[in-house]
């Protein structure tokens, strides 16, 4: 009897569990549904960045393309005179493009060796304590507001250059390149440092075991192994230099001429946009021309970034087999 009662009890409790189970299954389905919605929500948010990028392109073109009713694309890109306020106006941004390229090239010749060498030093040579000290300095250098660097170039470096080289103005191509190098060294350095630091320990050890010195190992093994990372770093550093605005606005001098010497004042693309936007009447030809200049600048940096991305993915070092 007792046994039967026990069995009955057990059965009823089983039933109870079953009904609970049904509720639980329902809850689970609810939960799964909710999980799916949450995932979709996050996916939507992740698309915001790319949406902003599209909006940037869209609005640049909306506001920039009307200028090509006034001048042809060829005359705009290769016209040698930029006098947007004279009558009739000239909208040729060739001197600005040349200035941007010159400033970027000169700053890179300074920034690439310095940045990469510092990176090698930090990743391979420096003691742990020194590394902990120098890395933050490089990061602080990267965080300096560009307007402060521009200000520094204007009030300290420009008079200095004027005195030392005996030139008419210290605000010129050379000064701008110097200040831009300041800005792109941290980018180049910290990205290449990451690349060099992540080269696997085994291949370093293998090289040292073969009798190579530390420098030979760095030069023949570590740098080739991290070359794609270093190249990416250099391209991104150059992209930062060509897009940098405040520095070139304040220290490049502002003359819309094709430079013939390194001490000529110039007016790179971003400087022209920043300096003239305030005075260009809303939706005038000048306004459209500045947006079109923005398109050119955007395409320059886009190209740099695409190349960097391509290099980073295609020539990625996977294991030791591709060395």
């Amino acid at each position: 009897m007792a046994h039967l009662l026990y069995l009955l009890e057990r059965r009823s409790s089983l039933y109870l569990k079953k009904s609970e189970l049904i509720i639980k299954v329902g809850m689970l389905k609810d939960r799964q549904q909710r999980e799916r919605y949450i995932k979709k929500l996050f996916f939507g948010v992740a698309l915001v960045s790319i949406t902003i990028l599209f909006l940037i392109v869209f609005f640049l073109f909306i506001e920039g393309v009307p200028i090509f009713k006034v001048v042809s694309i060829k005359d705009f890109l290769f016209g040698r005179y930029w006098y947007p306020t004279s009558d009739p106006p000239d909208f040729g941004i060739f001197p600005l493009i040349v200035a941007s390229i010159a400033v970027t090239a000169f700053s890179s010749t300074l920034a690439i060796p310095l940045g990469v060498m510092t990176a090698i030093y930090l990743a391979e040579v420096a003691s742990h304590r020194l590394r902990e000290l120098v890395k933050p300095i490089v990061e602080l250098l990267a965080a300096l507001p560009s307007v402060v660097i521009g200000f520094f170039g204007m009030v300290i470096v420009a008079p200095f250059l004027q005195n030392v080289f005996g030139i008419a103005t210290g605000l010129n191509l050379f000064n701008a390149s110097l200040m831009l190098a300041f800005m792109s060294i941290p980018t180049i350095c910290s990205l290449s440092e990451d690349a060099i630091y992540s080269v696997s320990q085994e291949i370093k050890e293998a090289s040292l075991a073969l009798g190579a010195t530390h420098w030979q190992t760095i030069y023949r093994v570590i740098i080739p192994a991290s070359l794609s990372g270093i190249t990416t770093a250099i391209i991104l550093g150059m992209s930062r230099a060509i897009g940098e605005t405040m520095v070139v606005l304040m220290v490049a001098g502002g003359a819309t001429l094709i430079p013939t010497s390194i001490f000529d004042p110039v007016r790179p693309l971003p400087a022209s946009i920043a300096a003239e936007m305030a005075e260009a009447p809303f939706r005038s030809d000048h306004y459209y021309a500045l947006f079109a200049t923005g398109i050119v600048l955007f395409l320059f940096t886009l190209a740099f970034n695409m190349i960097a991305d391509h290099v980073a993915h295609k020539y990625k070092q996977v294991g030791t087999a591709t060395l």
């Binding site: 915001v48 902003i52 940037i56 909306i62 307007v147 605005t245 946009i273 923005g294 991305d309």
Partner: protein
């Protein structure tokens, strides 16, 4: 036997001596290159502190500019910069963290993720002046916000988004996989795991990223030139549709477009010093905080 040992230690071979010398020379060169960076930062900070220190006093920090900006203080600029950068972070932080969560926790590697990442990388590379143009065309003109705090904060938010996504993703990466597995094994769903386990563990790293984004937004000039900042406004802002003054733009204006560029030199130095104290201070806090975190993670 003896000879091979000699060869392996490299003693008695002139070639090896030359190799060591070359290495020494090159390592010193590398050291010099690294030192140049430190010296550059020191020189810049030294000149700014030397010339700007005497300009900073209580009046300078708490008064508005007077006498057509040749006297007085920079209070409106400090308030403006705080409004803009805090506004930018308030906009960019939720979006940035959510994007990072999607990329790191939900997304499977594939073409779609690759495209999203490419978009973020390219957004990070867009020149600041182009952000300014975008803000002018989209927020100021198309959405009719006018030159305002709102337009400026949105523009700066778009600009600091990649910084925050990058930092948050790094923070998520440092959360050990075992945390997630333990939570899932207890029957928690993915979202519960993320919300209750992963996010709290990643929070310090995310905050570091937020500080870095804040300092980036505070120091930018070109994006706010057409969207938020003006030469001079006498009042402090009362709504998000007011135009404002900001520290970086104030430096630029005083240094290039003022009526008395030489006479206001001390104000320029003072403003620059306040700005770099603000920006480098925030960065220093973030760096110290992060290195502490990393040490804790390794232990």
């Amino acid at each position: 036997m003896k000879r091979t040992r000699a060869a392996s230690t490299g003693k008695g071979y002139p070639l090896s001596h030359a190799r060591k010398t070359i290495q020494k020379i090159i390592f010193s060169l590398l050291r010099v290159a690294a030192a140049i960076n430190g010296v550059a930062l020191l020189v810049l900070v030294f000149f700014l502190v030397k010339n700007g220190w005497c300009a900073i006093n209580w009046t300078f920090l708490t008064q508005a500019p007077t006498d057509s900006m040749t006297q007085g203080g920079i209070l409106p600029c400090i308030v403006g910069t705080l409004c803009l950068s805090l506004g930018a972070i308030a906009i960019a932080l939720p979006i940035g963290v959510a994007s990072a969560i999607y990329l790191h926790e939900y997304a499977r590697p594939g073409r779609l993720v690759r495209v999203i990442r490419l978009g973020i990388n390219n957004l990070a590379g867009v020149p600041s002046v182009v952000f300014g143009l975008f803000g002018l065309a989209f927020f100021v003109t198309w959405l009719h916000f006018g030159v305002s705090i709102l337009a400026g904060a949105l523009t700066l938010g778009a600009l600091s988004l990649p910084v925050i996504i990058g930092a948050s993703e790094e923070a998520l990466r440092t959360v050990p996989q075992t945390y997630r597995e333990a939570s899932l094994a207890l029957g928690a769903t993915k979202w519960q795991t993320i919300y209750k386990v992963v996010l709290p563990a990643a929070l310090p790293g995310i905050l570091t990223g937020a500080i870095l984004g804040l300092s980036r937004a505070a120091g930018e000039t070109a994006p706010i030139m057409f969207t938020a900042a003006v030469f001079y406004t006498p009042q402090l802002p009362t709504s998000v549709f007011d135009e404002i003054m900001a520290l970086p733009y104030h430096i630029y204006v005083l240094a290039t477009a003022g009526t008395e560029i030489e006479a206001t030199r001390h104000l320029q130095y003072g403003t620059a010093l306040v700005l770099i104290i603000l920006v480098l201070g925030m960065n220093l806090i973030a760096i110290i905080y992060r290195s502490r975190l990393r040490r804790r993670m390794h232990l």
